[in-house]
């Protein structure tokens, strides 16, 4: 068998060069306002990152006192960013509570969409429950459409062991639309190649390549349209979805923003469990580089999946995640029973993991902060939302963790918002209202997001 030299292998060794690449003016479409063409909100670029980890927090160890220090909580590694953080307490996933399926399924499928799940029952979960895919576009994609402008990628979905158990409702965070999930990419080398392929070629060569690719895409699209006329309804729908991917990729045949630094191509970390810390840092570095080069303005970092089972050997914790979580103390057991050494130990291990995630987010914030952007840093224009599909490892769908770092260009408030007594879930507010506020922070004026009936009361008061 003949193996051709991969286009990707040619790219190795690009690293570290400062790129000054012109935008391709030709790619710009003519639209009404200059802001919208460039994806600006009030004349400025705004960015969003969603960080997901599965199976929630140990809540008594997670939430600080309102206005109080993070020290002593599992947020401690983020203490330096406390003054730029916003913690929401007393928010529930009503759309998940009203969905068919078990809580990892319903939590995951409605977390960013605010929609009840499809009840096609194609996925079976714990306890024999069945559920379908999420049933709507997720907030990150809605915002990405608004802020994308001329960037090459609408969004970047990066995974850290997010594909180990395949593609199903518990493993997918982001959706383009109903039943249309986006698969995150777990391999940093693949991410690098998608982002920085072709950056080592000169402008003339790049233009030639662009024209050639355009030729191929035009001809492929033409064949899709011809074939579409002679196939059945379901096949037409499949071809239309397929064609939409080709259309989206078409715009990626562009240049990139001026003054960005292409990182080194990450090494091959393999798929061993021990590689998670390395992969996490590599994915964060790539996401920050993509922001710095204005290749995209919206990203997700998905650590494992809903109902996650991963182990943390690098913390000396080889327990399977889901089981470990179930053995932790429940939501109101702040002081775990000193006589129950097993539960105390399991809770300690669980909290070590939360601290580890907090440390990774701190690294992300530090990288954003040290990357210059205009007069300030990338962190100034960004909001990082940390969340989970369940409140805690016991599958609660109330008191879901929503913590923001950064203010998306001064749009979000800081501090702590307690919307209800954390232990009285009847009064918790619907997370749709948080999603409404978030879209408004990115210049989308609508008063609903997801199922409209959960948006009663309008946007939560988190905007400045």
């Amino acid at each position: 068998m003949i193996k051709p030299l991969s286009r990707r292998t040619v790219l190795r060794g690009v690293g570290g060069s400062v790129l000054a690449l012109p935008f391709l003016e030709a790619m710009r479409s003519r639209r009404a306002s200059a802001d919208e063409v460039d994806g600006l909100v009030d004349g400025r670029i705004q960015r969003l990152i969603v960080v997901f980890k599965g199976n929630g927090m140990h809540q008594p160890s997670f939430y600080p006192e309102p206005g109080g220090t993070f020290v002593g909580t599992t947020l401690e590694p983020l203490e330096a960013y406390r003054d730029r953080s916003l913690i929401l307490d007393g928010v529930k996933l009503q759309s998940a509570l009203d969905s068919e399926g078990e809580m990892h399924q319903t939590g995951m499928g409605s977390l960013l969409s605010g929609r009840r799940l499809q009840n096609t029952g194609e996925f079976s979960g714990g306890g024999g429950a069945t559920a379908g895919w999420g049933n709507g576009i997720t907030i990150d994609q809605t915002i990405a459409e608004r802020v994308r402008g001329n960037t090459r990628f609408k969004s970047l979905e990066l995974g850290i062991r997010a594909n180990v158990i395949g593609s199903e409702v518990r493993t997918r965070l982001n959706y383009r639309g109903p039943g249309d999930p986006i698969s995150p990419v777990d391999n940093p080398q693949e991410v690098f190649d998608r982002l920085f392929a072709g950056v080592d070629t000169d402008a003339e060569e790049r233009e030639r390549l662009r024209q050639r690719r355009q030729r191929v895409v035009d001809a492929v699209q033409d064949q899709f349209r011809r074939v579409r006329q002679r196939v059945g309804t379901t096949d037409q729908q499949r071809l239309d979805r397929h064609l939409s991917f080709i259309d989206e990729l078409e715009t990626r045949v562009g240049g990139m923003g001026a003054g960005c630094v292409a990182p080194e191509r990450p090494r091959d970390f393999g798929t061993s469990r021990d590689a998670v810390p390395d992969i996490s840092r590599a994915q964060i570095d790539l996401l920050v580089s993509a922001f710095a080069c204005d290749l995209t303005r919206v990203g997700s970092l998905q650590y494992s999946t809903g109902a996650y089972h991963i182990r943390f050997p690098w913390l000396g914790d080889d327990n399977q995640g889901h089981s470990l979580g179930h053995a932790t103390a429940r939501r109101d057991e702040a002081a775990v029973d000193p006589n129950d050494r097993d539960k105390t130990e399991r809770t300690r291990l669980w909290n070590n993991r939360i601290r580890w995630y907090a440390g990774e987010i701190a690294y992300l914030l530090q990288r954003l902060e040290e990357t210059p952007d205009g007069d300030g840093s990338l962190l100034d224009s960004t909001a990082v939302l940390w969340t989970s599909e369940n409140a805690n490892p016991h599958h609660y769908l109330t008191r879901i963790p929503f913590v923001f770092f950064g203010t998306a260009g001064g749009k979000l408030q800081t501090g702590m918002k307690q919307y209800a007594d954390p232990f009285d879930s009847r009064n918790h507010v619907n997370h749709n209202r948080m999603l409404v506020a978030l879209q408004q922070a990115y210049g989308i004026e609508s008063n609903t997001f997801g199922e409209p009936e959960y948006c009663e009361g309008g946007a939560l008061d988190i905007l400045r």
Partner: protein, 530 residues
């Protein structure tokens, strides 16, 4: 997406101390023989057009152009074990992105010589000279306008090499290459199941048996409508089974049926086996390759098991070749279940897993799926204790209410394999010398299985004798062959496959033939009449 009848896992709400309902409700539609209406015409279920899997895309590209794609497309969704389910396997943004890069790489790797050889023209390309290539690439004759549009890529190019490279890229991304659009035979009324046209039949055969597109002979027979002639069909199936490309399909089927992908990623606590994952996988692939032709009985009972040369000494053999078969003690091991790689796969890092072993047998060989564990259950295995056997530990944990309701179904099957440790080695006692008791009583889960067995060997022979097992394997193959869930309309096809398989005492060639000749394979239903 309407999924009225898709054969989803039947959810059995808890087992509540009984297994009656479970044993009476196999997953998917009811395919019992007595429900077949012999007076009704043969029938078939509707499905959307198949979309090439990662492997099919790679092999079809290689067979058409002589170039193997250097990278894989992303992993597909597995539905009821298989990735080729036409309802579920679709394009994605990521796969399209990678496919674009692959198409570019493949085209760039071809020079004027290979282009001229593979496409069949260079300086003299026209719609007429390109037509045979289009037929090979798209596996049927395309409408004239589609051929003309493609031809202009070459005829209007600055130079023929560049033009042909553009064409190759477009072909590898075009819907006619990536989807398997099917049509009924001309002249048939599209109001019910009607014979598939010969080109469609050629593709069904080749993707089933070769995991790739049809060769020129199949396409020639299709263009003269000769392939659907029963005698010709039988001859062609026999030829295809003799072709080495059949091995691609055999490996692909087993990889999915037995979830072999996990094998190469195994990590064990025992440092002797550090990095053994790929060797286990290679050993098991070798076992399938050497045993498959000998039929289901041998697959389930032989004690000749293949091992790589690095693993052979770890199981007590002097290596004789990089990959070779070794005769294990026949009173200790029998068939695929007791292959060291399979036993290592169905185990934790530091101890064996009776639950994984029992559930695996139920799902893969008995076609019975136990319900998933309850939500709040702690799935942590009991800590390893040198003074106890794994059976004792797991029995303490799951042999009690409410767990026992379900665990009584599969735990005993797992206990039969208690002599195989986490790395698939045969052991007789726990670390401190506590004897392992392999004898166990398996409930009457399917016809012919359900008694007290002395261990894995007796059980393997029971499986080999059970019609339920051969029926289950035949059904897995049929689902793999048609690339969609089975439907009540497929009952006769299922019956034909089972009968041929049983009558030949588990000869896989007979099973392949019966599938290729069954209504599910030869008939087509248009969507409007689904």
């Amino acid at each position: 997406m309407t999924r009225v009848w898709i054969g989803l896992a039947m959810v059995i709400g808890g087992c509540e101390g009984t297994f009656d309902r479970l044993s009476e409700t196999p997953r998917g539609p009811d395919l019992r023989e007595e429900l077949i209406d012999e007076s009704a015409p043969p029938d078939v279920a509707w499905a959307p057009s198949g979309f090439l899997t990662t492997r099919q895309f790679a092999f079809a590209t290689y067979d058409l152009l002589g170039v193997m794609p250097a990278e894989d497309l992303p992993a597909e969704n597995r539905v009821d074990l298989f990735v080729n389910n036409a309802f579920q396997h679709e394009a994605s943004l990521l796969s399209e992105d990678i496919r674009a890069a692959i198409a570019e790489d493949v085209a760039a790797s071809m020079n004027s010589e290979s282009l001229a050889t593979r496409v069949g023209c260079l300086d003299d390309c026209s719609v007429a000279t390109l037509a045979p290539f289009f037929q090979r690439a798209f596996r049927r004759e395309l409408p004239a306008d589609e051929q003309e549009a493609l031809s202009t890529l070459v005829t209007e190019a600055d130079n023929p090499v560049e033009g042909l490279r553009l064409l190759i890229e477009v072909v590898l991304r075009s819907p006619q290459f990536l989807y398997r659009f099917e049509e009924p035979q001309t002249g048939s009324t599209p109001d019910r199941a009607s014979p598939i046209d010969d080109f469609g039949l050629a593709s069904r055969l080749s993707f089933f048996l070769w995991n790739s597109g049809p060769d020129e002979r199949l396409l020639d027979l299709a263009s003269s409508n000769a392939l659907s002639d029963p005698a010709t069909l039988r001859t062609e199936v026999a030829r295809m089974l003799d072709d080495e490309r059949f091995g691609r399909s055999v490996m692909s089927f087993h990889e999915q049926w037995l979830s072999l992908d996990a094998m190469s990623r195994l990590e064990k606590s025992d440092p002797t086996f550090a990095g053994a994952g790929t060797s286990w996988r290679e050993s098991f692939d070798g076992f399938i390759a050497t045993t498959f032709d000998r039929g289901l009985r041998e697959l389930l009972t032989t004690s000749e098991l293949a091992l790589t040369e690095d693993l052979a000494p770890l199981y007590g053999f002097e290596p004789t070749a990089p990959l070779a078969s070794y005769r294990f003690a026949p009173e200790e091991r029998a068939g695929l279940l007791s292959h060291p790689a399979m036993m290592a796969k169905l185990a934790f890092a530091d101890q064996d897993s009776p639950i994984a072993r029992g559930v695996f047998v139920m799902e893969r060989l008995l076609c019975r799926e136990p319900p998933p564990p309850p939500m709040d259950v702690d799935l942590t295995p009991p800590p390893v204790d040198p003074d106890s056997t794994s059976r004792e530990r797991f029995d303490t944990l799951t042999g009690v209410e409410p767990c026992v309701g379900c665990h009584q179904l599969f735990n005993p099957i797992g206990y039969l394999f208690g002599n195989f440790d986490a790395t698939g080695r045969y052991i007789e006692t726990s670390e401190s010398g506590r004897p392992i008791e392999a004898e166990a009583t398996v409930l009457n889960l399917v016809e012919g299985v359900g008694s007290t067995y002395s261990g894995p060997v007796e059980f393997a022979h029971t499986l080999a004798d059970s019609p339920a097992v051969s029926h289950c394997v035949a059904e897995h193959w049929l689902r793999y062959a048609v690339g969609r869930p089975l439907h009540a309309r497929d009952a006769r096809s299922v019956h034909e496959a089972r009968t041929a398989f049983d009558d030949s005492d588990g000869d896989f060639r007979e099973l392949m033939r019966a599938i290729a000749e069954s209504p599910a394979f030869r008939l087509h239903r248009i969507e409007e009449d689904r």
